[in-house]
Structure formats: structure tokens, C-alpha cells
């Protein structure tokens, strides 16, 4: 029987670790702390945990149930429910393809930073010297050394999405390495994935713990942690807070890509996925909160260091301008001195105004950053100030790599599992199919290593998977609740687990989650329409900072293509299946008429 020859996880632990490895990814580290900071610190936990309860856990449970019951990838599973729904699985696969294309570039950057950490002086610690050896490179002076290293030496970024240079060879090499490692991890399907996830799921926690201890003991870290935990409850009145909490839970769990269905399809039929769903969702949210504490400790340290450097510069300026003895101004009395000098020598202070900076700790703490900016710029800036920075740098980027690779395992499995269900492909060996998929993704993804690659990356990141996933999961939960039927679904679960899901699950699936998703969906559409021309952050090398720029015509067209291409799979496949069936019916009719014609012909002959 086909089902018996399907691969299986060696143990339920492997399945749980695979789900944890997939769900706990870079978003937990670089998106959640940002949201926490933007939406009221500790107070953000209220909408976050509420959304976990209302949509996170029920939808996670739903996808695992579908996968374990159908024992097929996303396309096969939905086709089994109803042939017209195959498009839903196909939309998941298309979205997964987009994700695979651009996600591995982050791993390439992590590799780049990791390899560059094996140096005496970290390359992002100080500005490189210009050709005349008179001072640092201008672009680096206007920005900061960490920004220069990321935008110029890592990405060699062009000034807009329209300008394109060649491929950055270092990047391309790291990208190749990232895909080779992905291939190595998935080459034998769940047999190899199952062993790898023991490491990719657990080691990041070791690093996070080490960083927590290191972070809290850093000078000034307490400022950051205090800042995070002071709740600003007025933010809860802002609807964006609730919407961001809902979207964060949704994307953080990785729903809708088909990865969970794929992973669950390799389970034993009677595996207790209900408990596992709750455990994984709780671990995922717990990790977000944990990494939030670490990030804020690091923020606090960085803000304090910057603030003290600012004070030091002000002190030197005052000492030099008024020729005071070196030990007269110290960190403690610097503000008194400023006011004293302001009253005694107001004109000289006025002359210094353009050089005199305003040093404000609150302002340093308020700079909220998310995404690659947080991971690669802010964190590396904090690391360079720590004692023994090479060690901390290696640890940190290795953790980022594990988080990214763990998520990649799920992404690639989401593509390969449905493909293997097709008879055409099932004759190919695991290794060959995986190799072909990895090679294709690598070649297509090389575009992200060009000089404008980061802008394309941002486009894919913002539009490639967000909208389509909401749509896919909304359709999923509606189909299961109203077409397949809650009663039938209950029976299936009873068959697998031995007991029916209780009223909480049923209310969530039938009522709360679909309503929440519809709300999110409408909000996204309204936001998109109201937002005007979509914009991106372009790096201006003359000013040394990012500026908001409009997407050009072809950029907007491509965004439209990204959004439409995955969503349209659903109606198009339904149409295709409809036409196929019609064609089949016609053929059957013709055969029957031929048969009856022959029969009647024979009768006539006999007569």
C-alpha cells in the first residue's frame, strides 16, 4: 500500500522539534521586539497573548489535523477534500516558492557576517581609511561604520531599485553555501531533516540564554529592560496594536505555507497532535518574549554607550574651546558646566552650537528598528562594544543561521512534499528531486545578490507572502468549518486521537478565527489602497542614510504580479478542474452514444 511506504518521523519528538525549528525563526528575534517597542512595551503582551488564544493555536491545530489525516502534501490534501480545491494547495506552494527564493539570502548574509567575525578587529567596528590616508571614507563618516559595512561592503547597494550592477561575488558564494547546506539537510527527506532539527531547534536557545546573561550584565542594559517593561497602556486603544499583534502571531507560526501540512503528513496516524500544537505555539510565543528581553538589554547597552560617547564628545569640545583643565569637567558635572558656561560666555557657546550635540538617553532608546536593520546593524553595533567581540559575534550570527536554516527546512519541505505526491515526479528519487528544486531556487535567487538585490528582497518580504497567506488561511478555515463540516472534522480527529475536540476549538474554527481573518484581510486591503504608491527605503550614499522612495512602474507591476499570482491559483485551478471534468463527461457521453448506436445498428441488421 502506498501509505505504508510513506516516510515517517523516527519519533514524535522529531516532529515537535521540526515544528519548533520552523516556527521559531528570525521573525521572533527581529520583528517581535520592534512591535513591543512600538506598541507600549509590556502592554503589548496583552493583545499578543489574546491573539495567540483566538487564532494562533486553533489554526495551527487545524493545519496539523489536515496533514496528519490526509497523509499528503498541501495540494494532495486539498484535492482529496474536493478536487476543485487543489488550487488552495497550489497557492501555498507558490507562496512557499517565493519565500524560499528570498529567505535564503538572509542566511547568506548571516554567513558573510559569521565568516567576517574571525578577524582581530571586527570589520564593522571602525571606518576603513580612504585612499589618501587622511581620514575615514566619506560615506562611512556620514553614516556609521556598522551601516557602512552592511550597505556598502556586504550588499554594495545601488541607490535605487532601477539601478543594477553586477552580482556581488562574496554574496553569491555565501548564497551557494546556504543552498548547499539546505540541500544537505533535506536530501533524504524527513530521515535527514528529522536528525538535523535536534540541533537547529535547541541550540538557538542555548545562545539566547548565554546572550541573556551577557546582556543583563552589560553596562546600561537595565535602562533598556526598564524601558521595555514600563507598559504604555494608552497604546492598547490604538487599533494598529491589535492588528499588528494578530498579524505577528499569524506569520510567526508559519500558517498557510503548507509546511505544517507537509510535516504532519509524515506522522503516525494516531499521533497526539493536539498537545503538540499547544506546546509548539506556546514555545514560539515564549521564545518571542524571551528574545525581546535579550534585545532590550542589548538596546539599553547600545543606547547607554552612544549616550556616554555623546557626552564625552561634548566634554572634549568644551575643554578645547574654553581651555579648561582636563579634570575640571567630568561626566557628572558636565550639564552644570554647560549652564555655567552658557551664562558666563553666551557668545562662545552660540558659536559652538553647530558642533554641540544634544545628548539624550531617551532618544537613543526610542530608535526602534526591525528586520535586517536590527539584526545586522543594531546588534553588530552593540557587539563591537562588548569585551571579546569576536566570540559574541560568532555566537550571535551562528544563532541567526540556525534560526534561518530551521525555517528553510520547513519552507523547502512545503514545496517538495506536494510535488512528490504527483505520480509524474514520484519516480524520481528523493535526492534528485531535492537537488533539482534547490538548484532552481539557487539560480533564481541569485538576483538577490546583485547591487539592487536588497530592494527586491524588501519587496518580496513585504508583498510576497503577507496578503496571499491571509487569503489562503481564511479559505482553509472556512472550507473546513462550513464545507467539509465541523462534524466530519470532529469525527476524523476522534478517529486519530481517540477523543473529540472540545467546544473551545469548535468555536474558534467556526466563528472567531474566520472573523478575525476577515478583519485582517479587509484592513490589509484598505491599507494598501489608502497607502498610495508603495514605497521602499533606498540608501542614499551621499547623505549616509535611507530615504523613502516610490517604487517605479515596473516595481509596482511586479508587486501586483506577486500578489495576484499566488491568490489566482485558487480560482484558476478550480476552472481547470471544471474544464477537465466537462471534457471527461463529454467523452463518456460520446462513448455511450457510440455504444447505443452500435447496439441499435446491430438490431437493425438483425431486423
Amino acid at each position: 500500500m502506498e501509505k505504508d511506504t510513506r516516510d515517517k518521523w523516527d519519533s514524535p519528538t522529531q516532529f515537535v522539534l521540526a515544528c519548533v525549528s520552523y516556527a521559531v525563526g528570525l521573525g521572533n528575534v527581529w520583528r517581535f521586539p520592534y512591535l513591543c517597542q512600538m506598541h507600549g512595551g509590556g502592554g503589548f503582551l496583552i493583545p499578543y497573548l489574546l491573539m495567540l488564544l483566538l487564532e494562533g493555536v486553533p489554526l495551527f491545530y487545524l493545519e496539523l489535523a489536515i496533514g496528519q489525516k490526509m497523509r499528503l502534501g498541501s495540494i494532495g490534501a486539498w484535492t482529496a477534500i474536493n478536487p476543485y480545491l487543489g488550487g488552495l494547495g497550489l497557492a501555498s506552494v507558490v507562496t512557499s516558492v517565493y519565500l524560499c527564493l528570498y529567505y535564503n539570502i538572509i542566511n547568506a548574509w548571516s554567513f558573510w557576517y559569521l565568516f567576517h567575525s574571525f578577524q582581530d578587529a571586527l570589520p564593522w567596528a571602525a571606518c576603513p581609511i580612504n585612499a589618501n590616508r587622511t581620514g575615514p571614507i566619506e560615506e562611512c563618516e556620514r553614516a556609521t561604520p556598522t551601516q557602512y559595512f552592511f550597505y556598502r561592503e556586504t550588499l554594495n547597494i545601488s541607490s535605487s531599485i532601477e539601478e543594477n550592477g553586477g552580482i556581488h561575488t562574496g554574496q553569491a558564494l555565501c548564497f551557494l553555501l546556504a543552498w548547499l547546506i539546505t540541500y544537505l539537510f533535506i536530501v533524504k527527506g524527513v530521515k535527514s531533516t528529522g536528525k538535523v532539527v535536534y540541533f537547529t531547534a535547541t541550540f538557538p536557545y542555548v545562545v539566547l540564554l548565554i546572550y541573556l546573561i551577557r546582556g543583563i550584565t552589560l553596562h546600561g542594559a537595565i535602562n533598556g529592560v526598564k524601558y521595555m517593561f514600563t507598559p504604555r497602556m494608552e497604546q492598547l486603544a490604538n487599533p494598529t496594536t491589535w492588528i499588528n499583534a494578530a498579524t505577528q502571531i499569524f506569520f510567526s507560526l508559519g500558517l498557510g505555507f503548507g509546511s505544517l501540512i507537509a510535516f504532519a503528513s509524515y506522522n503516525q496516524y494516531h499521533n497526539n497532535f493536539e498537545r503538540q500544537a499547544i506546546v509548539v505555539s506556546l514555545i514560539n510565543s515564549g521564545t518571542s518574549i524571551f528574545s525581546c528581553i535579550v534585545t532590550f538589554a542589548i538596546y539599553g547597552f547600545k543606547a547607554t554607550v552612544n549616550y556616554e560617547n555623546c557626552l564625552e564628545r561634548t566634554r572634549t569640545l568644551l575643554l578645547n574651546a574654553f581651555s579648561l583643565a582636563e579634570d575640571s569637567i567630568t561626566m557628572d558635572n558636565i550639564f552644570e558646566w554647560v549652564t555655567k558656561l552658557n551664562t558666563t560666555y553666551p557668545e562662545q557657546i552660540a558659536d559652538l552650537q553647530d558642533k554641540l550635540e544634544v545628548c539624550n538617553l531617551e532618544r537613543e532608546l526610542n530608535t526602534a528598528v526591525e528586520g535586517t536593520g536590527l539584526a545586522f546593524i543594531v546588534y553588530s553595533e552593540a557587539i563591537k562594544n562588548m569585551p571579546l567581540p569576536q566570540l559574541w559575534s560568532v555566537l550571535y550570527f551562528f544563532m541567526l543561521l540556525l534560526l534561518g536554516m530551521g525555517s528553510m527546512l520547513g519552507n523547502v519541505t512545503a514545496i517538495i512534499t506536494p510535488l512528490q505526491d504527483f505520480k509524474v515526479v514520484s519516480h524520481m528519487s528523493h535526492e534528485l528531486l531535492n537537488g533539482v528544486v534547490c538548484l532552481l531556487c539557487f539560480l533564481l535567487g541569485l538576483g538577490f545578490t546583485t547591487t539592487s538585490g536588497n530592494y527586491w528582497f524588501a519587496m518580496f518580504n513585504d508583498y510576497g507572502a503577507t496578503f496571499s497567506l491571509l487569503f489562503i488561511v481564511l479559505i482553509e478555515v472556512t472550507i473546513i468549518s462550513y464545507y467539509y463540516g465541523i462534524k466530519r472534522f470532529e469525527k476524523d480527529i476522534e478517529d486519530m486521537l481517540g477523543h473529540r475536540p472540545n467546544w473551545y476549538w469548535k468555536i474558534m474554527w467556526a466563528g472567531v478565527s474566520p472573523l478575525l481573518l476577515i478583519g485582517l484581510f479587509i484592513f490589509y486591503i484598505v491599507n494598501y489602497i489608502q497607502g498610495g504608491t508603495p514605497t521602499y527605503q533606498a540608501w542614499n550614499k551621499d547623505l549616509g542614510k535611507s530615504e523613502q522612495t516610490d517604487y517605479p512602474g515596473f516595481g509596482q507591476a511586479f508587486i501586483g504580479l506577486l500578489l495576484v499570482s499566488s491568490v489566482s491559483c485558487i480560482p484558476l485551478t478550480a476552472l481547470y478542474v471544471f474544464c477537465q471534468k466537462r471534457g471527461q463527461q463529454k467523452q463518456e457521453k460520446q462513448q455511450r452514444t457510440v455504444g447505443t448506436a452500435e447496439a441499435s445498428g446491430l438490431d437493425r441488421e438483425e431486423n
Binding site: F111, F115, R133, A325
Partner: protein, 223 residues
Amino acid sequence: MLKRIFLVICFLVICLPSALAAQLCIPNAPEACQVRLSIKTALGEKAYEWNEHEKFLFRAAMAFAMRKHKEQEFSLSDIILCNETVRVSFWFVVTSPLNPSVLVERKDIEKAVSKFRHRINGAFLLSDTTLEFVNIYPTLAAPVVPNTPPWLIVFGVVIGLIGAGIVFLLTSTIVQKRRKKQQKAEEGDEDIEELEAKTVENGSTSEGVYNTTFSDDDRFTQM
């Protein structure tokens, strides 16, 4: 009378140079350079006090730098300091050894300082930032460029390991498959041997022609 004249001449001889020197060293003059020392910042507790002896050392160091740069016999009296502050900053001018009333041009001083900056810094246990010659920018040390960038070495090691891993996994899969095929082929052979043995057994007792219809040979009846 003679005594008074003698005293006046002595007075002029002693005081004139310093008066002249004071006139030559004017802050913000085109030939004057400002120097700023941050001894406490650089040395912390081991900081020394800025006094006459340190000033003497400075003049000696500057005279040394000018000697080496211009290859003229500069002496201590050619370096004139003025306008000292508590910051520990002061101005200085350099007079030419050939004519004490002529000042050396600023650009010569700048070149001399740039060339022998490290020697002057060393004399005071300071660095380019803590012994600051205002408006004379230090030439920064050339960056050390290794033959192979270090990241490439680590990259090479990692990709070598990964490549070896992939090759190992793929070859072990191929080897396993071949073994399975061989096993299947061997099992197939054994079946044939078993059947032949059975038919031979039955046919050895010469009781007649063996009726194969009832033999265990399933192969022929299976579709």
C-alpha cells in the same frame, strides 16, 4: 658711568631675546601652531604633571624633528612657546637657526611634524589623538591587507566540509541501492534454484512423466 652702561648692555642682551621671542610667538599668526595635550585622558593615574621639564622635552623633540626634516642645526632656543593654558595647550613658533628673527614657514613645520609624529608622540607616551597638533592631520596607518581575506579561508573550510558531507550521503545512498538490487537479484536466483530443485526431485523417481500442473511453480499461474 661705565658700570651703568655695562648694566644696560647686559640687561638688553639678556632681555632682548626673550622680548623678541615674545614678539615672534603670537597665537593665530600664520607661522604659529597650536598644540593640545590630553595627558590625564591618555594615562589616567600614571599621568605626569606638565611643567618646565616637559616643556623642555617638547622643545627638544620639535628641534629634533626640524633638524631631521630641514637638515639644519636647529637648537632649543629656536622653538618658542607661548600662551600656555591649564588645558595644557600652547602655541609655538620655530625660528630659523641662521637668522633668529625669521620664522620658519608653517608648511615646513607641518611636514616635519607629520614625518616624525610617532617619535614626538613616543617622547610623551601619547598618541595622535591625545597629542594634538591643531590643523595638522595625522597620516593614518595603512590598513593591513592580507593576501587572502580571512573570511574566504573560513568559507573554504565550511564549504569543503559541506561538500564532503553531500558527497558522502549521496554515495552511501547509491551504494545502499546497489546492495538492495544485488540482494533482490540473489533472492530471485534462489527462487529459480528452489523450483528447479523441486522439479528435479519429482522427476527423479521414474514413475512416469511429471505432471507440472500440480507443482509449486506459481510463476506460471500468476498474472
